[in-house]
Subunit: 316 residues, 2 copies
């Protein structure tokens, strides 16, 4: 109604902290804050804490967003604005997140999977809407993703689309947390990468410094790989082989312009991408494999930024 | 402009014959004919033969379609209206099909992959546009598919989307005609099914009637399976295991409302679908797997029908 610039509001719910981000239409961050998620205190208290945080941020800016978008990890029922299932936030499952947050903020709210929102940030911000078909592959504790096709976020029949981490990369392969075997996440999620390192170290018969660590992290395996540790390098090669099957399947099915790798493990992409590129170069369908650009995202706030930008879309 | 009903024109190019179909907007076939494809005579002669066939059909009907859609197997460059690569029609590769056919027919023409057109027929005709997100899985000599998302045909960045047959269902599995290993087609295409039967028959140590046949066809293995032949039944189980990996990957990535199995091998779906349903029932993400309907198409003219219906879409 007014000539004022519109403000986007994104809220990204993590297991520990929840980020609140206010952005301009350009994607420029105007203000950001965080509140503790405290899942054990229940979703009602969480809604109050978030609403107070939003009020504080908007008071500081002296401006108000018309609409808000809540990003959360798990199987989101976007139509109902609820979490169906969440490994990180089981206490929030089935709670009417959208309805309660909408009431507390006195504005419209949408709820989406956080990887879908990261995909939106890849499409709208990182790639500046230059490409119509963009896939985000999120690699952190788990593996997930989001799909933008023809400039539209594809969330699917039940809002569960782009669960890329549970695509099978191996007939009856390694066990995944989801209960199935051979999922991409079982090779390229945090526990998958650590499992590969430990099994290669065990097979080598030598106790390595890293294999003695109880809480081994992919970051440590990445540092060892960069320092030319043989077992670490072989680990990333195996991760790369699994990721290449996932990416090859994505390309055959969706024929995207770009695939962006997002999340903590994206920082190690220099260690596993050579294997992916080698596999892709062998595919005989040259048109789709020649077109697709595989990129690694540098920033790690794409979930909250994507949610803030998506809140500015018509009918998010 | 006039009040007359619009007519759709679809031309489906097979390796031997090319079907010409004129349909009403309802999908009702008003006239159909076929002309020999004769690929060895070259694409120029093919265009003339098709144009003569269309003229004859339209004269018979006393009506004219405003636009035509040509369906063809292979990697289609829809933007350029050419075949990039075609195992069945190598002589047609790179030829300006759209431009020449448009000139010969004196109207607009689009060129699309035949499996994409079959997917459009599944969405628009078989499922009557009741579902927004529909995948067709075509199982004939090769394995392919098409994807309709949000009621829009998704052809991808280079028109190569939905090459479902080349999604990997096994790390380093059976060799595919495309040069890669472990493609769905290597298990569920005609030569894959025959290979599985032959290797199971060889392993059994008994020469079966079918294993003696030089030109064994999936139809014969289906008949044997229906007659409770043990090796044939085990063959279809293995086909089902491969198809289930493909379908599970489709569901995780696209979360469709429906997947329709189309083509000659769809007729054997009663033999391999129990294995697929068993695999799907084990997946822990209940929302997308509970939603998706898996159906087998009964008619085998969905490519030409889909092309005819698609010619009626705005900007096909």
């Amino acid at each position: 109604m007014s000539g004022a610039r519109r403000l986007g509001l994104g809220i990204d719910t993590g297991g520990t902290n929840t980020k609140i981000v206010l952005v301009a239409e350009s994607g420029k961050i105007l203000h950001s804050a965080q509140v503790p998620t405290l899942p054990t205190k229940g979703p009602g208290a969480f809604i109050k804490r978030v609403a107070a945080g939003v009020r504080k941020s908007e008071k500081f800016l002296g401006a108000r967003a018309e609409f808000a978008c809540l990003a959360v990890a798990g199987d989101v029922d976007a139509a109902e604005g609820r979490l169906r299932r969440s490994p990180n936030l089981p206490a929030f499952e089935k709670f009417p997140l959208r309805e309660r947050l909408s009431r507390a903020l006195a504005r419209g709210v949408c709820v989406h999977n956080d990887a879908n929102m990261a995909a939106w940030a890849c499409y709208a911000l990182e790639l500046k809407r230059r490409y119509a078909h963009v896939v985000a592959l999120t690699m952190g504790t788990g593996v997930g993703g989001g799909v933008v096709l023809g400039g539209t976020l594809h969330t699917g029949a039940t809002g569960s689309a782009a669960e890329i981490g549970h695509m099978r990369v191996s007939f009856g392969g390694a066990a995944c947390r989801c209960g199935a075997d051979g999922c991409l996440e079982a090779y390229a999620g945090k526990y998958g990468i650590v499992r590969i390192y430990r099994s290669l170290a065990a097979a080598s018969g030598v106790k390595t410094r890293l294999s003695r660590l109880k809480n081994l992290e992919p970051e440590q395996i990445a540092r060892a790989g960069a320092a030319k540790d043989v077992i670490a390098r072989e680990t990333w090669k195996e991760v790369g082989r699994a990721v290449s099957v996932g990416i090859i399947n994505l390309v055959y099915l969706l024929n995207p312009d770009a695939i962006m790798i997002v999340g903590g493990v994206a920082k190690a992409s220099g260690l596993f991408m050579p294997e992916v590129r080698k596999s892709m170069s062998k595919e005989s369908f040259r048109a789709p494999f020649g077109r697709v650009r595989i990129l690694a995202a540098k920033r790690d706030d794409l979930g909250s930024l994507g949610a803030a930008l998506y809140s500015l879309e018509p009918g998010p």
